[in-house]
């Protein structure tokens, strides 16, 4: 018997035919060709089904039946402003770029404007994205779907030695009345030698709409570059949220990614990283909090193709009744990648017997002089800690809240930026108080 690995939904191809003439950059032949080829590849391959190993924990079966239509430009509304206010970290200030329903929203955006920083938006300058769109290396079928339909996105280039002063905030908003919308966006970040920047990206959207946010990011760090990317996922509770990040890290460069998954019905975070030079460092960390009908899936891969590099992964999950999660962390240490230092830690706290956390660390080590470690745990709240707190007067909700906060704190405790650390804490605490009301 043949195992069905991929699923097909012919409506997607039909929808593409119907809207292709109105897609961003429809007048440009090269882009039309890129879209067409990508769509063909996607149609041929299909949607990865639950039998595809990497997708074991996120069942995309619904994509075979549900039909999404690509998001269109939104008019200005007070709803957009409210989402913006919830997402924008005013204490940090600095440049902010807002996308609404997958389209740039100039009214609330102020692009980075600094010597040595080049910033472009796809819908305003499609050719800036030509290289990346034309190269289909490692393209997964969903990456191709995104490529075929992409509406907007941004590109950031930082010149050699430039240290971007203020963090750049990117906010993705999805409005209500966008039921069954697909929001395909992309980003491309290139840090030249010694360049440094911090990007804070927030995903937020209508609470009671079904929509599918899909983002592909490509980040390139040249020698001694330092990029830190922070992502807050605050999507509406019926949303599907997917991000796929491809990152290469050259000699002595530092890449750090930190994420907080709070929203969406289904979230999938894919982080595919490769070292392209020695003495470089990758730090991936995040917290995911899930409850009824929610599923968070973190899929990481670190290719240690170079010697003397270090990678650290730290993930903490909290699952309440009906919540589900998976952490799949794959580290591949090539034969020549001696003196590799790779560690991985994933701990999960279950607040209910009806919660589920899956941990699947995978270490493939072909070098002999390496230090690699991984640890994964799934546990319940410590009854002694709970009693200790309650014996001092904290009621059950407050005591549990404090312990949950403490459990995820490890992820962001040693952040040097106090404003960001507080933002993380406040958002995580917000999830808890939302639970109180439920």
């Amino acid at each position: 018997m043949v195992k069905i690995l991929h699923l097909h939904n012919p409506e997607i191809g039909k929808h593409f035919e119907g809207i292709r003439s109105s897609l961003t950059g429809a007048d440009q032949a090269w882009l039309g060709a890129v879209r067409e080829e990508a769509m063909t590849r996607f149609t041929n391959t299909g949607i990865p089904g639950p039998k595809v190993e990497e997708w074991k924990y996120t069942n995309l079966g619904f994509l075979a039946n549900e039909n999404f239509a690509v998001g269109t430009k939104a008019d200005q509304t007070s709803e957009i402003k409210a989402f913006y206010d919830a997402a924008y970290l005013a204490d940090i200030a600095g440049p902010v770029v807002v996308f609404v329903n997958g389209h740039i929203y100039p009214a609330l955006s102020s692009y980075p404007d600094e010597e040595g920083v080049e910033f472009s938006v796809f819908s305003e300058n499609t050719s800036a994205f030509r290289d990346t769109l034309e190269s289909s290396d490692q393209a997964s079928s969903l990456n191709d779907l995104n490529r075929a339909m992409v509406t907007d996105g941004y590109r950031l280039d930082i010149a050699a030695g430039v240290q971007v002063r203020q963090p750049i905030q990117i906010i993705h908003i999805v409005t209500s009345a966008t039921d069954m919308k697909l929001i395909p966006v992309r980003s491309q970040v290139t840090a030249s030698k010694g360049a440094k920047a911090r990007i804070i990206e927030t995903f937020i959207g209508a609470e009671n709409e079904r929509y599918w946010g899909h983002m592909i990011s490509e980040t390139t760090l040249h020698d001694a570059a330092d990029i830190s990317l922070i992502q807050f996922q605050l999507q509406g509770k019926q949303a599907i949220h997917m991000t796929e990040l491809h990152t290469t890290v050259a000699e002595k460069a530092n890449f750090s990614h930190m994420s907080l998954q709070l929203g969406a019905e289904i979230s999938r975070t894919e982080l595919i990283n490769s070292f392209t030079g020695e003495y470089a460092h990758i730090d991936l960390r995040g917290a995911y909090l899930g409850r009824v009908k929610q599923s968070h899936d973190i899929y990481t891969r670190i290719n240690h193709d170079q010697p003397n590099c270090q990678s650290n992964q730290l993930y903490r999950g909290v699952l309440d009744e009906g919540g589900k999660s998976a952490f799949q962390g794959k580290v591949v240490v090539a034969r020549d990648a001696q003196k590799t230092n790779a560690d991985q830690s994933n701990k999960n706290l279950l607040l209910s017997r009806k919660a589920e956390a899956n941990a699947k660390p995978e270490l493939l080590i072909y070098a002999d002089d390496v230090k690699c470690s991984h640890g994964a745990t799934v546990g319940e709240m410590d009854a002694n800690q709970l009693f200790y707190l309650r014996s001092r007067g904290l009621d059950e909700v407050a005591a549990k809240g404090l312990l949950v906060e403490a459990f995820v704190a490890e992820v962001f405790d040693d952040m040097d930026d106090e404003i960001l650390r507080d933002a993380f804490k406040a958002k995580a605490a917000g999830w808890l108080s939302r639970e109180e009301r439920a």
Partner: protein
């Protein structure tokens, strides 16, 4: 006033307390001594409402209210404090944050308002100083990496800040060096007042030299088998349990 009548407690289906009777009036200091495994900690947990301590018979009332009917945090609100024999480590929660939540929870329980942050900070600093605890330690996670003695001292800082009307102190003196024992004893004595009662569980006469009890009880095999004044402890120190005719299976 704390009144414990015919208290029977089972843990994991096994009867540990087999009919404890104890009455403590306001202002009194009582000590409970007894061999290992007698049920002293079990009594303290039952008073404070720990899960898994099943009350099969008897009553515990405090100022006329039925404690057994209350959640542990409500009992704290009523003025109860348990000094743990083994204080619990809580990574990720700072002492300060913990203490502030605890104090304000109790104030709210009693119908009051949160203590202003500045006043709270002053209070905690003063209490830590009295107990010879470095203010830096207050920023650290609760009990994490604290030595045995530091943990006990931290219990006393919490007690001083929360200012309970009934403190049950389970072997607060164990693991303290001689100087620390003096500091902790001073802390207990400061709580002593006509309104407050203190129940000290201890193995050693030495603590009772510093904090002189009004009554001394000996517990064995889940019951209080003897009650006297401070001289009972002195007697015990000299003769031991066997010398007093108390064996571990004293039933």
């Amino acid at each position: 006033m704390l009144e414990i009548k015919n208290l029977h407690v089972s843990v994991g289906g096994k009867e540990i307390l087999k009919g404890v009777n104890l009455t403590m009036k306001s202002g009194e200091v009582h000590a409970i001594m007894g061999p290992n495994g007698a049920g002293k900690s079990t009594l303290s947990y039952a008073i404070c409402g720990k899960d898994g301590y099943e009350i099969t018979e008897g009553t515990v009332t405090y100022n006329g209210k039925d404690l057994l009917d209350m959640e542990p945090d409500q009992r704290a609100g009523e003025g109860l404090f348990l000094g743990f024999q083994y204080p619990v480590e809580i990574p990720g929660v700072s002492n300060m944050n913990f203490l502030r939540s605890a104090l304000n929870s109790q104030r709210r329980y009693r119908g009051g308002k949160d203590m202003p942050a500045v006043e709270f900070l002053k209070l905690v600093r003063a209490k830590a100083k009295e107990l010879d605890m470095d203010a830096e330690m207050l920023k650290r996670p609760v009990n994490v990496g604290f030595s045995g003695g530091e943990k006990k001292r931290n219990e006393m800082v919490q007690m001083a800040v929360l200012n309970p009307s009934l403190a049950v102190l389970d072997e607060t003196d164990s693991g303290l060096d001689i100087d620390a024992l003096k500091v902790v004893s001073d802390g207990i004595n400061r709580l002593r007042s006509p309104e407050n009662s203190i129940l000290m569980i201890t193995h050693y006469q030495r603590l009772l030299d510093y904090v002189v009890p009004d009554f001394v009880h000996i517990m064995a095999d889940g019951k209080i088998v003897r009650t006297g004044d401070k001289t009972l402890a002195i007697d015990l120190e000299e003769k031991g349990y066997v010398g007093l005719g108390i064996t571990e299976n004293a039933a």
